[in-house]
């Protein structure tokens, strides 16, 4: 075997093992991170169906500031709260917007996205029922890409 091939094989092995160690932290457990965030907010309750709209660009260049609008679908009674979750962020719980008439069950804000992920909006009704909508957002440059995350 030539030294070139040896070198290539070694590099590939290194790359492979790096991937093995990095991937599970970065991507592997998004579902369980979301589950944990939902449990912290809602206990045993889980979203059933939708009833909430989530407006957000599907392709984002800069994760530092991403415009988002959460709006409950028309219907009575209106929800008492709208929640946002970003499972891949260091803290997946993004915000909770509690609302009472005459305010309408909708809000717009700007969020950070640490990377490509499914952003999840959850509406909560007075009887405790939850509804959710997820939008897959591709992020070219994550929030704080120029900084090192301690957690990630």
């Amino acid at each position: 075997m030539t030294t070139g091939l040896k070198r290539r094989r070694m590099l590939m092995t290194l790359a492979g093992s790096a991937g093995f160690w990095l991937l599970p932290r970065a991507f592997g457990d998004l579902e369980s991170r979301l589950e944990q965030a939902l449990t912290e907010r809602f206990g045993e309750r889980r979203p059933e169906g939708s009833g909430v709209e989530l407006e957000i660009n599907r392709l984002v260049e800069n994760g530092n500031s991403v415009a988002v609008t959460v709006r409950a679908a028309a219907g009575e009674p209106p929800p008492v709260a709208l929640h946002l979750f970003m499972p891949r962020n260091p803290e997946p719980w993004g915000t909770t917007f509690r609302v009472e008439p005459p305010a309408l069950p909708e809000f717009s804000t700007r969020i950070r996205l640490a990377g490509t992920q499914d952003v999840v909006a959850v509406a909560e009704w007075p009887d405790g029922r939850l509804g959710a909508t997820a939008v897959a957002v591709m992020v070219t440059l994550g929030a704080c890409a120029d900084d090192l995350y301690l957690e990630f």
Binding site: N64, S65, V66, L84, M86, N89, P90, E91, P92, W93, G94, T95, T96, F97, R98, V99, E100, P101, P102, A103, L104, E106, F107, S108, T109, R110, I111, R112, A143, C144, D147, L148, Y149, L150, E151
Partner: protein
């Protein structure tokens, strides 16, 4: 550091009209997850609560977390059902507070 806000509050409306509040606060929303160039963790400093009172009633209240972008922008709408004061209030995790007020005049159509 003193906080400052740019807000757009409705001043006049006819009863039943849907009006909008838009707000933007100058604030770094430091997440507490970043490290500086010496490897030291930059301490968290965020606004944690935004609340809106309209004619004495709390109509909206928002928990802000580190996932909200720097210089938090929040907009929402409500039905103008009576004349009264609008009070927007932001609270930070270090005890800082900012209040903006405006008057909404509601006339019958």
């Amino acid at each position: 550091m003193a906080l400052s806000a740019r807000v757009r509050l409705p001043e006049r409306a006819t009863r039943g009209e849907v009006v909008e509040i838009r707000s933007l606060v100058s604030h770094p929303m430091e997440t507490g997850f970043r490290v500086d160039s010496f490897g030291r963790r930059v301490p968290r400093r965020i606004l944690v609560r935004f609340s809106v009172r309209y004619a004495g009633r709390l109509i909206a209240e928002m928990d802000l977390r580190p996932g909200i972008a720097a210089n938090p922008y929040v907009a929402f709408r409500f039905v103008a059902d009576r004349s009264g004061e609008l009070e927007l209030r932001w609270q930070g995790d270090d005890g800082e507070e900012l209040i903006e007020r405006g008057q909404l005049e509601v006339s019958d159509p």
